[in-house]
Assembly symmetry: C2
Homo-oligomer: 707 residues x 2
């Protein structure tokens, strides 16, 4: 036993030499350190049988080899003899209750102390997903001797949207530059592409739009399509399809056509040929994501055509190859003197039923733009004849970017669970996007704007990885709870020790509400810095378009604060179903988290707490700041259970988060106080600086801007 | 022994799980796999004594702990008892023959089978350098039982120049964006800063200019100085001083002064106050690097003052704090109708003797701009009364960027060994920059433009790390050979196995000449792509300034090719000493590697090989291409001796390098053929595409541009 002891000690030291830089994400596969648990797995998993030998099966084999070797310090034997295997991965094309990507896991007792695990799927990709599920169970120390699981994805399209430019700048990117290095593609396949695909496959993501929605036609030139093909080839074994953004003016820009009018036959022909060119290179190319007639992007309206005309023209071009078009509903114009909140609904609702059946409409979770908290978008439930995808945002453009710990699963759940009442109670947003409410079972899904860059730890903030993870897990299973996701992520990413898991998950689960409170409590929205969206700037009123300026949104004046969207205001509420309107229309009964989204409220309005609005605002802002201090305390509990490198990273970042939370509180309240004329509550923390100081701050090199 | 066997197997598998992504650079500290060598070290190094407990000594202790634990799989014991230690690190302030940073290593036999190693230095930084030297010896498997080494640096300033902007764009950066994340400084100290400092200290680099020479005055605002202080604090224990670039117009930009005239008392006062402000934050701040009146940067000439007036004004501001000014000699103007080659010399030579004694002049290795091969700069040896620093470029702006393997040590050696004949034979460039030739022993040095970015492997190309390494090692010891550097780097970075070392070093040592041949043989220069400097563009003649265009440099016409810099031409040769002129002035005896730098040569000129110039050009270009194929073959030899990840990376990159080499050959020769009207030699490889095709290529998103 002497050797065993010495070598275990050395193992520990070697692992210390390999710094925990976060690159491995939740796929760390470090040795299980509970001996009993370790033995349990070591005795149960010795031989593995994998039925097929497709590229995807080879990926499965490598992942099982690396995962089991790392977790159990015991290399699995891959056997060709199904009978002797402990885990049997088999294809069963006729499996009942399984969708194309789903899988079943079943444990079968052999003797008193022995069992086998039978994995079934219709396709190799289902087996790969099952393999990741098994590895996740082992990493999170779950029993595997009585499995009886059927797992099918809730949504058929589970897609990342990268707002990555060809020069590698990432719009709203806070984790370095794009991982896609177009310059040395197609000849250089970065290991990062493989690890990106592995990570996505491990959480069920099956598509990626690799270019920015603010599109560049160059991606559709042949040289760049060859580069795209190289990416698609690298991703294919992981079940990931590549999509591109299509710039509507591409026929003009690339081939000098005189128009990009979607009803022009030459234009139609151009896109048909382009589609053919793409599918010859990439037979399983996903399709196009299009941002048209929005924030300066060209589109069918340039030619007096509708969004449906534009989408259908592209849909016809990709239809022969089973491609799809994802058309964004994020449109608004300051030429239209209408509440920006209402514009997407006004534009698209009348088009319901006029899209081809390979078109999805991609709608952001809320009506404005990824604000800390938004009510669900009124288009959910409003277009029964059109498949509606939801667009979420992982990159925390308005949610603290990469310096703040904000776990987004509670926000995603809040939206998924929101009831549109489109077909009566329980017409949740989840039931809209999974196709069950309006019978779009073939074509449905969810996208999320990626928070990935070339930082070593992928996402900038170590906890931002949890948002990527949460998106994939929820898109696979919209019923998972935030708690379950936080717990399994923490166990894989940091530690399975119960006190550590408890502290970290508590911190995560509190973080979303904390951030909303110190940034935009009570339904405030869009009051952040110009352009870079960094920090508070409720006084902002200098941008060219009214609907880009904070003062447009909070409407603070001597009477009160908030945006009146009732019938006496813009009547945006009218876009929701009657029951939803009923919930929000009365400022005395409206859920206070949405209050200032819909009502202009007087400063001395009595809140449910009994406080005046002004005092409640002060209270909420400070509550957010105090919550960050609690997060700091919780993090200290983790110190002795995790690696020093990430502990120190997060400790520094939480300190920045506290500074930024105080900055939001002090700057916003000092500014709103110029309208309320009310004093701060007794014993309220004194702002660190003057309003003039906060207004003088400039951040010309804050990351993530448009260019 | 069963356990031992099993655990060794597991160790191997665990190491495989940790991919070799290049992050660890040459400080990998993997276990020595030759058992005899391992035992030798294990028996010799058990206990270590470190005399001091300064921050630098703590760094030394950590490095020895990590290094020895990794290499020997045996944790060293740090003892307070000098007598029982195997390695004794002691301060000896009176050590003879030691400079402030130097160290001695001596082995002392104790018994027949036991010895101690005594390390002496005047300061803790010398001990740290010695620690890295010892770890390097162990990593490269050298005997340590009969050491008797005195090591003092050849140069006192060994500095990296980062051309990094505050928005993290790196001008001429090919390895991602800047590692310096100004946005979250000073509150966030990235582990990368520490690892950067460790890597630099391990090769003796003792200074870093963290901002671009194309300067931004914002770095001198108080908010950014606080960020700079945080970096300086992180780097200090590693013996690394921070320098900044000073934008000459900063007093106007930051504090709205009406002028930046260096003779204006208000301006002088502004810089004095700024220096005071900086040194209060950073007591050991290095000083300023200045690019003035060059490529659009402001400078003293805007006010009809000389470079000396400008440099001296800044020198006076930092002198009270022992700061220095590094003033760049890289100036040229297209308003001056003079050969660009001659302009720096014309400008600065007359100023010799007029600079303050805390000013150094920083001169690029050659007269133009980091071309694949340049003759040494005529200012070396021409200014005996001024300390001249050399500026090299690690980032391969003109040398294949990050897609080509080009080991630069042979180029650095070629320049260091070049004889200026300033004081007769053996007046080498090395003797100019080390201060020995003209007695500048106190202030001398070498800078190098860094090739570092936030790519996981730091430098983009795995072999680009070798250039960073070579710079540090040569700045410490200008006498090291390219072979010695390649060998020790390879042993640390890849493997100590002799056949692997032989293959890899051969590939490295051939790479510089290969690149010169397929890009710019026989003294051609500056014929690369506009702006991005990517690929060949000898036809380029569209840029605003004549001296930015390739046609200005090669002067190909129906008669011949090359730049006549003899007396019948621009007479640039006259800037060199008589003996140097003699070597190069006759086109029949001139070293052919510099031929077209100095002579316009007719196409049918007979070369030393017996071939005509045209045929020789064809031969050389193709020879370069063939050399890349040999590099590919050598790399295949390494496959079984190194990790799969880096093997595959380099294999892909060599394939790109071959494509690019063929592109250079074919594009340049097809273009030059339009002048020579000569056929390609018999059996010469047919160009893949037409000249028109090569001329049509565009790379709008090639990395590293100015903005």
């Amino acid at each position: 036993m002497k050797y065993k002891y010495i070598f275990l000690l050395i193992l520990l030291q070697i692992q210390l030499l390999y710094a925990e830089n976060g690159y491995r994400l939740w796929l760390r596969y470090d040795k299980i350190n509970n001996n009993k648990t370790l033995s349990y797995y070591q005795n149960s998993i010795k031989k593995i049988f994998i039925e097929t030998s497709t590229p995807t099966s080879k990926v499965l084999k490598e992942e099982m080899r690396n995962g089991i070797t790392g977790l159990l310090h015991q290399s699995p034997i891959f056997t060709n003899d199904r009978l002797e295997a402990d885990i049997i991965f088999s294809i069963n094309t006729k499996a009942k209750n399984l969708s194309e990507e789903g899988f079943t896991l079943q444990s079968k007792k052999i003797t008193k102390n022995r069992f086998k695990i039978i994995v079934n799927a219709k396709k190799d990709i289902g087996l790969l997903y099952a393999g990741f599920e098994l590895l996740r169970m082992i990493q999170t120390a779950q029993k595997i001797d009585s499995l009886n699981t059927i797992s099918n994805p809730s949504l058929s399209l589970r897609i990342l949207n990268h707002w990555d430019n060809l020069n590698r700048h990432v719009e709203r990117g806070y984790a370095g530059i794009s991982i896609f290095n177009w310059h040395n593609l197609p000849a250089y396949i970065d290991q990062r592409y493989i690890d990106y695909a592995r990570a996505n496959a491990s959480i069920g993501i099956n598509g990626t739009v690799v270019t920015n929605v603010n599109a560049n036609a160059t991606i559709l030139t042949h040289a760049y399509l060859l580069k795209t093909k190289a990416l698609a080839d690298a991703f294919r074994p992981y079940g990931i399809k590549v999509y591109l953004t299509a710039k509507f003016s591409a026929p003009i820009e690339i081939d000098h056509l005189k128009t990009a009018d979607p009803l022009n036959p030459e234009v139609q022909k151009w896109w048909q040929n382009k589609a053919k060119e793409i599918y010859e290179l990439i037979p399983d190319f996903g399709g196009f994501l299009v941002k048209a007639n929005s924030e300066g992007q060209p589109g069918p309206q340039n030619y007096n055509r509708t969004h449906a005309d534009g989408a259908n023209m592209l849909a016809d071009a990709v239809a022969p190859f089973k491609g799809i078009i994802i058309w964004r509903a994020f449109v608004y114009s300051n030429d239209t003197p209408e509440d920006r909140f209402k514009q997407a609904y006004n534009e698209f609702k009348p088009l319901d039923g006029s899209f081809r059946n390979n078109v999805l409409l991609q709608v952001k979770n809320g009506p404005i733009d990824f604000q800390p908290r938004e009510p669900f978008h009124p288009l959910f439930g409003a277009m029964p004849n059109t498949p509606i995808m939801m667009e979420l945002q992982l990159t925390q453009e308005y949610l603290g970017q990469a310096t703040q710990l904000v776990f987004e699963a509670p926000m995603f759940k809040e939206i998924l669970n929101a009831d549109t009442y489109a077909k009566g109670a329980n017409s949740t947003v989840a039931s809209v996007i999974d196709g069950s409410l309006f019978n779009h079972k073939a074509l449905n899904g969810c996208s999320s704007v990626a928070n990935i860059g070339n930082d070593i730890n992928w996402c900038g903030h170590p906890f931002a990885q949890a948002n990527w993870y949460a998106f994939g897990r929820l898109a696979w299973n919209t019923n998972l709870s935030s708690e379950a996701i936080a717990t399994e992520w923490t166990k894989q990413t940091f530690s399975t020790a119960p006190p550590i898991v408890a502290s970290i998950t508590k911190m995560m689960l509190n973080s979303y509400d904390a951030m909303v409170e110190y940034m935009t409590p009570l339904g405030l929205h869009h009051i952040m810095g110009n352009n870079n969206h960094y920090g508070p700037m409720p006084w902002g009123n200098t941008l060219a378009r009214a609907d880009w300026n904070p003062v447009y949104y909070h409407k603070a004046d001597s009477m009160g604060i908030g945006f009146n969207r009732t019938v006496s205001g813009t009547n945006a509420l009218d876009q929701y179903s009657k029951q939803v309107q009923k919930n929000w229309i009365d400022s005395n009964s409206c859920d206070e988290k949405y209050l200032l989204w819909f009502h202009h409220i007087s400063w001395n309005h009595r809140m449910k707490s009994g406080r005046t609005l002004w005092n409640e605002l002060c209270f909420k802002y400070n509550d957010g700041v105090e919550a960050v201090k609690k997060m700091q305390a919780l993090w200290q509990h983790a110190q002795n259970g995790i690696d020093a490198e990430r502990f120190h990273q997060v400790e520094q970042l939480l300190s920045i988060q506290l500074t930024e939370a105080e900055w939001w509180r002090d700057a916003c309240l000092l500014y709103f106080q110029t309208f309320s004329k009310e004093p701060f509550p007794i014993n309220y923390p004194k702002p660190k600086y003057s309003l003039a100081y906060y207004q003088s701050l400039q951040f010309p090199y804050a990351p993530g801007g448009g260019q």
